[in-house]
Symmetry: C2
Subunit: 235 residues, 2 copies
Amino acid sequence: MRSLPLFLDHTDEELELVQSLKRGVQSLGPLETLIHEGQTDAPLYTLLEGWAFRYKTLSDGRRQILSFLLAGDFIGVQQKMGDAAAHGVDTLTPAVFCMFQRNALWELHRRSPTMGFNVTWLTAHEESMVDDTLLSVGRRSAEERIAMMLILLFKRAAALQADAGAGGVPFPLTQQHIADGLGLSLVHTNKTLRKLERRGLHQISQGRLHMRDVKALARLADLWGDGRPPQRPLV
Amino acid sequence: MRSLPLFLDHTDEELELVQSLKRGVQSLGPLETLIHEGQTDAPLYTLLEGWAFRYKTLSDGRRQILSFLLAGDFIGVQQKMGDAAAHGVDTLTPAVFCMFQRNALWELHRRSPTMGFNVTWLTAHEESMVDDTLLSVGRRSAEERIAMMLILLFKRAAALQADAGAGGVPFPLTQQHIADGLGLSLVHTNKTLRKLERRGLHQISQGRLHMRDVKALARLADLWGDGRPPQRPLV
DNA sequence: CGACGTGTTGATCTCTCTCAATTAGAGTGG
DNA sequence: CCACTCTAATTGAGAGAGATCAACACGTCG
């Protein structure tokens, strides 16, 4: 049941602790909402299965997707106890969430520093993903942003499936989701996506993403593998 | 010495624990860099005094400021132990940092779950600030972004000074910093800033920010105090 | 006094948005 | 099996917010 990062490498005792804090499981269909923006008292969750995303909206409806959630991700650490949720969470696919009681976070820290540590690390990691998106949205062109997102989502999705190879990975986002995740308009997202596809960089069909030329995409995105980051401008 | 959020409300024992993990103090002048982008093995810090900011850059020099750091903020939780820093940190003003050994985070969790919990909470809070910026950069117009940033930075700066009232708050950012924090060009930032200033919404002079019409700025930013978030679009 | 960094402003330029239509599939009901 | 509907994907055209290019003003500093 637990091959999820958060629960990896833990003693039976620790797993039991988690079990004891668990308050239930919640299953949702695709395109449903788990947490409403501004909802108060939202519990803590872990995504066990499926895809979802966190988002914020402005009063006139403009929406920004903050991050996509895949199995193993944590949800709701942000909101201070008893505070309003700072963001909404919707599903993309049918999804299963593990629900925890409100004070689970504290109990976890108190009773297992190891897992507590893991949670802060996981939270920090979540932030660094938002950092990446912010760099894209703030400074990359539409083409670059899309290349970046494709690479990142592909990596995450591929890491979750045993059969990592041909056939691509599941890709349940609509173009509207991509647009909202990258701060682009739907139309421009479509045009840019088509352009990259026609250039043979990738392909999306039947809910699956195929990478045709990762190198080219990475170059486009100004993404430097795991090596050293960029040199300073030569100017 | 410690009125900082992280160290607030803790027992002497806990403060002593922190002291024992402390590895020294580092003072920097304005516009210096504490952590280089991609630097490995960067320690953990806490900002004791002054202003700084986290940023990422692309290989051609485009820079995105991820967040501004004020006294009390944590630095470096993101990078996995032994990993390269995911972002750089530069100072804006002279600044004093408290440096911790690499494993301090773990020790803190192990020896004081309370403080461990606080750290995860602080980290989560940091993320929610990045979330806010992402919403701005992705979906707000230039005017709206600037209004938003002014309000947010004003609040944070005001919270740190006893004399919260007239005279405004310190504001050590150049327009280039504002631009890089909002994903705008320097020129457009300047023009927008002037427009708002001429409209009497705020004023920046001699390194200080004065809010002339917070209501109008908040309306512009589509910021809903602490009340309920936006209604869905009326369509 | 010249060099620099920061702030201003005007004049283009262009990427991306908005508006409009059309196509393609999936699901429904007759 | 076929109209009918709805959502997602596409494409073209025109509009515009914001980027880029160029100058210039000001204050600080060696």
